[in-house]
Amino acid sequence: MGRYVIRRLLQMVPVFIGSTLLIFVMVYALGDPVAALFGDRAPDPATAAQIRKDLYLDHPLWQQYVHYMAQIFQGNFGTAFDGQPVLTLMSTAWPLTIRLTIVAVVVEAVIGVVLGLFSGLRRGRTVDSGVLVLTLVVVSVPTFVSGYVLQYLFGVEWNLVNPSVSPAAPFSELLLPGIVLALVSLAYVTRLTRTSVVENHRADYVRTAIAKGLPRHRVVLRHLLRNSLIPVVTFIGTDIGALMGGAIVTERIFNIHGVGYQLYQGILRQNSPTVVGFVTILVIVFLIANLLVDLLYAVLDPRIRYA
């Protein structure tokens, strides 16, 4: 187990270097960001040269990359164009996005698994077809449509919540954005759980458990559901990274100044330290979430062991 974890952690090093390099090159390929700082006015060459020098933009790309990586290992993620260190941006943005992701994951896991379980147990009945149609509708509606529509209904039409989230962004205000963010994944979780439950319903161990005379709730929860959760957990694990990155749309709609907002600003202003820094952390989150999922397999299914 320990050796397995260490091996997986070591694998992250090349992935980390490769992804930062790729993102660095891509942001660089967008062109020189300094001209945009001057708006519709032609940059005065001396000032532009001074800005480029201070941002280390007057060096070839590979030197910029080496310089950037050297700074990162000293704990310096660079500075955004408005003079704020990227680390400061991270410390304000990440807590928001993590809170939003927690809401989304809880919503998709709890509601998705419950819906999936019920429709799986009542295969072919009205409940099953109803959930099927519902998930189809949810999957086919893009996040920005559901976001704006729910925001208008809850925020303006019924006046139940504020349409935008305040800078402090407590959990209570993140409920609606969290649901919007979770909607599509929720549909997938429901479908996955249902299929898995239906499949395992006829498994030998379930029949044995019923034959042993175990109470129904114990059969369903302990034997059927637990064994059906493996594909679901895999999905939710990989989804954590996707939710954080995909929050760019949801955060924009609900005016949450989290990771998505900072990434959007960084891309718009072509500020490579912001973009590379945030995406790097996203990559690490993604890798760690996947490692945790793999370790969870062993917990869920005793037949799986890591060496």
């Binding site: 001209a35 519709d40 000032t47 925020g155 349409p163 935008s164 609900f254």
Partner: protein, 541 residues
């Protein structure tokens, strides 16, 4: 809706509570303090230094916390002496500036001649890399502190001299009679000592001499401005303060306004323009602003500058149906242009409707004739370049091209050419690698006809993207700048503008309006010529 009403009451109570604490904390004369205005905002691009702010979002904060030598009247646009008691000159080149006594920064420090001279020297110095440094280029000695290449040979401009605490003199490099009227621009604001001694501290909580002071600033999300009761000017704030909230998406700000979660939105999303009158009624503002949109030609490219190319460019201009496009695409938030300035200047300031003449009127037959005489479109087709990342330019560029295509009876004559990002777009233009006409937008820095002509069309002008050059135009601008009489200066500028009508280095398309919407608890909401709300006049009830 009971719940809605309750929420609103809670908000009002909170606003009153905040206002009360602000009032108590300020320790000022108190009095007519009422509520706080909650207004939409965008994250400023650069640090909030006066000479480093060249976009509207940072500019609106500076205009609230600072006052300069001059101030532009929010209704007429006229430059009035504000901190300046007098600005005098005998030769249009050497100016003596005297300050009104008694003005202070909100930290108690008096505003003196040094506050201005130090601020201007800071703004011009190359090492401070201020994006508005070129505004000081008219001052003698700028070349020494900000050379085009190499290291600066001086740290202060020789053209600035402090006489005493209330007086300083300025020597310009050339005659420039309307120069004092440019001094209302934010780059020329004075700065307190703390700006230089504790720069980081100042940036996290800027201190100025205007009607508001910064109460708290959370970068990227919220700035709370509160009325400064020690303010000496006559334009005191008539509300308790303004909370500027950063919105990434103007649709969200609009929804917040509808839900009663925000009081003032100064950027109505394009998708809501059709509903805004129904939603807000008389609380929707749509009025001219000092912004003109043009299509500029690459005058450095021989394809567009051959013999008779004047006729070609005139013909293209006449093939654009401005009236239909402004109505259909912009829902009346643009006005077809008939000169190269803006209606906000007023007739006295140099705006002249119809100066462009037939060249800016839609005339398909004449357009076909002129384009043919001009040798036809180079290679039989043209593109219009624009940036695709912001501002939703695609719609109107396509409409302009369709108009040209209809006139020429050729579906492929004109197409839009999107460039991914604004930065890339600007790079192509400044590097002269753009070989097709491109869109250009100009927002004035100060309400003067000079600002619409000299930076854009004068040889080597700071925003002369076309790189157009004409001796007669330059000499007329020089004449205008040397005129001591403003009416004669305006006449000379308009004569220069007539050369633009003959040669058309840029096609004027339309004047842009400023838009805003506000909640029913506000009154006296208006926009100034820069399409920025006049915050200090807003009252809350």
């Amino acid at each position: 809706m009971r719940s809605g009403t309750r929420v609103k009451w809670a908000v009002c109570a909170a606003a009153v509570a905040v206002a009360a604490t602000a009032c108590g904390g300020g320790g000022g004369d108190g009095g007519g303090v009422n509520g706080i205005v909650r207004a939409s905002w965008g994250d400023p691009q650069n640090p909030l230094e006066p000479a480093n702010t060249n976009e509207v979002q940072g500019g609106k904060v500076l205009d609230m916390i600072f006052r300069g030598l001059k101030k532009y009247d929010p209704r007429t646009g006229a430059a009035e002496n504000w901190l300046a008691k007098s600005i005098t000159t005998t030769d249009q080149q050497d100016f003596t500036i005297t300050l009104k006594p008694g003005w202070k920064f909100s930290n108690g420090e008096p505003v003196t001649a040094h506050s201005f001279v130090d601020a201007w020297n800071y703004g011009a110095a190359l090492k401070n890399k201020q994006v508005n440094a070129s505004f000081f280029s008219y001052i003698d000695g700028y070349d020494q502190v900000h050379p085009d290449s190499g290291n600066p040979t001086a740290t202060t401009m020789s053209g600035l001299k402090v006489k005493d605490d209330d007086t300083f003199t300025v020597r310009l490099t050339q005659k420039f009679s309307t120069w004092p009227d440019t001094l209302g621009y934010s780059a020329f604001y004075p700065l307190p000592r703390s700006f230089f001694t504790d720069h980081a501290g100042w940036l996290s909580k800027p201190v100025g001499d205007g009607p508001y002071k910064v109460s708290s600033y959370t970068k990227g999300s919220l700035m709370a401005l509160r009325t400064w009761h020690g303010y000496q000017g006559t334009d005191k704030a008539r509300n308790g303060g303004v909370d500027l909230r950063v919105y990434t998406d103007n649709n969200t700000a609009y929804t917040d306004l509808q839900a009663g979660n925000l009081d003032l939105v100064d950027d109505i999303p394009a998708t809501q323009l059709k509903n805004v009158k129904r939603d807000l009624g008389s609380r929707y503002i749509n009025q001219p602003a000092g912004i003109i949109q043009t299509i500029s030609f690459p005058m450095y490219d021989p394809k567009w500058t051959g013999a008779n190319s004047d006729k070609l460019r005139q013909g293209i201009s006449m093939a654009i149906d401005r009236a239909s496009i402004t109505k259909r695409i912009f829902d009346g938030t643009r006005t077809p242009a008939s000169d190269w300035t803006s209606p906000v200047l007023g007739a006295r300031g140099g705006f002249k409707e119809g100066l462009c003449g037939g060249v800016c009127a839609f005339d398909p037959a004449q357009a076909r004739k002129l384009i043919k005489e001009g040798g036809g479109l180079p290679g039989g087709r043209m593109q219009i370049a624009y940036n695709a990342d912001t501002g939703s330019h695609k719609e109107w560029i396509d409409a302009v091209c369709n108009s040209v295509n209809n006139v020429l009876g050729n579906d492929n004559a004109c197409v839009g050419a999107p460039v991914g990002t604004f930065a890339d777009f600007r790079n192509q233009i400044t590097a002269k690698s753009e070989t097709q006409p491109f869109r250009a937008g100009w927002q004035m820095d100060y309400p003067l006809i000079q600002d619409f002509l000299q930076p854009l069309y004068y040889t080597g002008g700071s925003s002369n993207d076309s790189h157009w050059s004409d001796k007669d135009f330059d000499s007329l601008v020089n004449q205008a700048n040397a005129q001591s009489d403003s009416a004669q200066a305006v006449t000379a500028f308009q004569n220069a503008e007539r050369i633009l009508a003959a040669q058309v280095p840029a096609i004027p398309l339309w004047y842009q309006n400023g838009n805003a919407g506000y909640a029913s608890n506000l009154s006296n909401v208006a926009l100034n010529q820069f399409s920025v709300p006049v915050y200090n006049e807003i009252t809350v009830h």
